[in-house]
């Protein structure tokens, strides 16, 4: 058996070397023998490199069907799909690299998800430094594992008030595990980044802003990490749904403001960690629904409408060392306490004292004030927002709580803003 495997290894090594040695480079330019990228792709064998020289190429539906192809642009290469079809497709060809191209004018289609780059059944893809403009979908990856999407800029080019359904997603992964999405800039799409059934992946350093729906959208995607991303001014913020073991670190959620916009929407999320994130000026900082065993540690909630909004069915959420500063409502809460805990957070609305000077207030802080409670129960009472009467009521309730849930409280509120530990 061992000899069999060894011999196979030798054969593989030989093949690779031969391949490598024979791998050719195909040049495409307006004055070359090969003037179209499509021709080059058809000529290419396994392991070839296609170098496209500067210029504008008006072609669409470029389909790569052989593995190990490198498609690379030199200078400013523009592929103009002319509103005809999708631009580049990689089909059942592992280890394809696409680099340094500008792709434009992929049309809207109501039955097919036409994308600037479409990866199908091809593992190990690398997509780098693309500029994608005026497109329906940006980069669409289906059933392809272990890929990298890095340094791409994606925008739909549609005007602001276009109907949501006529715009596609920026980076859309479906059933593709072990992906790395890094340093991309996505704007004006439907969802900036959309994960469906994508596990063990990393989303890092992306800037997703002013998308019609979500800046980042997770569905049924487990064991993922997203760090150092910025999500700004998206129609509905960021949604993480029906997923387990997600780590969300060092992200910024900013200005996701509007009637149904959330900084971060958690729905049916289990066993996750939210740490070192900043939530600034969102209508709702974090909206938690049916989520359990989540640790919220060292996050800053600044000037949100609601910093945290708990809906029913959430168990064992633990808030520890967070800063709540200048939010209109700190915590809104529906239903039973369900072992959700707030401990050692800083609340700028806290008016208690610290006689023994241990840094913790001597009286517990109740983040759900009477008005928040009432607005939750009877939404119409919001017409009394900022009314003098309500302020008096709130004060009275804070001194002697009668109506507000008695078991939601921070037993050791911090007297000073918590400084994050080294991240």
């Amino acid at each position: 058996m061992r000899t069999f495997i060894t011999s196979w290894c030798w054969v593989l090594l030989y093949l690779t070397i031969v391949n490598w040695a024979y791998a050719k480079t195909i040049k495409v330019c307006h004055n070359c023998d090969i003037r179209l990228i499509k021709q080059a792709v058809e000529l290419a064998d396994t392991g070839d490199t296609i170098i496209v020289l500067e210029g504008r190429y008006r072609e669409s539906n470029i389909i790569i069907r052989v593995p190990d192809i490198v498609l690379i642009g030199k200078g400013r290469v523009v592929i103009d799909a002319g509103k005809e079809n999708q631009a580049v497709v990689v089909f059942k060809s592992p280890n394809v690299t696409i680099k340094n191209l500008t792709i434009k004018n992929v049309p809207f289609n109501s039955t097919e998800e036409l994308a600037a780059v479409n990866i199908l059944y091809s593992n190990g893809y690398i997509i780098e430094d693309l500029i994608i403009d005026s497109t329906f979908f940006g980069i669409l990856v289906e059933q392809s594992d272990s890929g990298i999407i890095r340094g791409c800029t994606i925008r739909s080019g549609s005007s602001i008030d276009v109907y949501e359904a006529t715009i596609g997603n920026g980076i859309h992964l479906c059933k593709s595990n072990y992906a790395l999405i890094e340093n991309n800039v996505i704007t004006n799409m439907r969802d900036g980044i959309y994960f469906e059934f994508v596990s063990n992946s990393v989303i890092r350093g992306n800037y997703s802003y002013e998308n019609k729906r979500y800046g980042l959208h997770f569905m049924f995607s487990n064991d993922d990490v997203y760090v150092n991303n910025r999500f700004e001014g998206n129609g509905a913020g960021v949604a993480v749904m029906f997923s387990k073991n997600i780590d969300m670190h060092n992200n910024v959620f900013k200005n996701n403001w509007g009637m149904s916009a959330y900084g971060l929407l958690l729905k049916e999320i289990y066993d996750s960690e939210i740490k070192h994130n900043v939530f600034i000026r969102n209508t709702t900082g974090i909206h938690v629904e049916g989520s359990a065993r989540i640790i919220y540690e060292e996050n800053d909630f600044v000037e949100n409408g609601w910093a945290v909004n708990f809906l029913g069915g959430s168990y064992d959420n633990y808030f520890y060392h967070n800063n709540f500063i200048g939010n209109t409502f700190d915590v809104a809460y529906f239903g039973r306490i369900n072992n959700n805990r707030f401990e050692e957070n800083y609340w700028n609305k806290y008016t208690g004292y610290d006689l023994d000077r241990d840094g913790f207030g001597d009286v517990p802080y109740r983040p759900v004030d009477l008005f928040t409670y009432m607005v939750n129960e009877i939404p119409e009472t919001i017409v009394l927002l900022r009314s003098f009467f309500v302020q008096i009521l709130n004060f009275a309730e804070q001194v002697v709580p009668v109506l507000t849930p008695a078991d939601i409280y921070d037993p050791k509120p911090l007297m000073q803003k918590w400084k994050w530990s080294g991240s």
Binding site: A261, F329, P379, E380
Partner: protein
Amino acid sequence: MLKIIGYVIKDLLRNRWTLFYLLFYLLVGFAILIFSGDFSKSTVSFLQIILILTPLIGTLFGVMYYYNSRDFIELLLAQPIRRRDVFIGQWLGVSVSLGTSLVLGLGIPFLWYFAQYEVAGDQFVLLLLLGFALGTIFTGLAMAVSVSTDNKIRGFGYALVLWLLMAVVYDGFLLLALIAFRDYPLEKFALIATVFNPIDLARITILLKLDISALMGYTGAVFREFLGSTTGMILASSVLILWMLLPFALITLIAKKRDF
């Protein structure tokens, strides 16, 4: 009547009360703008002042000025002038001088702020307009109350109760009603109830101008749709004008009937 208005304004200037009032607003205006830093936040702080202080100061001033100038009023009444003109003149004189102090006292800090940072100032203009209107309404109501009674304490008491009713208790009843009828759709009711109290109307109008209105959800959307539409705007402003006409009618009526 113009003469009376002019005289009242001159008198108030000599009294230095308006000057004091102006200085107070200047101080508050600069303090809020400097210390709050954030523009939207400072608007909310100003809103609180406009909603609580302006009507209160208007009320106090109206009553105080009327009782202080009783002798002068009696003198005027002996002259061949229409009674209505005497009292309305007094009212307008007081509210114009108070309103000017408000507009100058907050307007100067605003202008200073706009000179430094380029921000849209339409909500500030609205704030000043509403403050002016609220001041006028409450001065008038206070005057109407004090014209109706010679007893100073009683006059003060009634006027303060009136202010308390409008600024605080009204919201309490509104809240009770909202809680009592929570099983019914209440947006329309809330809307109507809000429009008919000038303080609440001013509050909602300003809040809808700020980003904070996104918090108001469905109810806010109903309000925005109503107050944003032309009919809504016309209705809201005519309610405010009606509120300003109410003291006018009351004062005229009481002054005609009363025996001085």
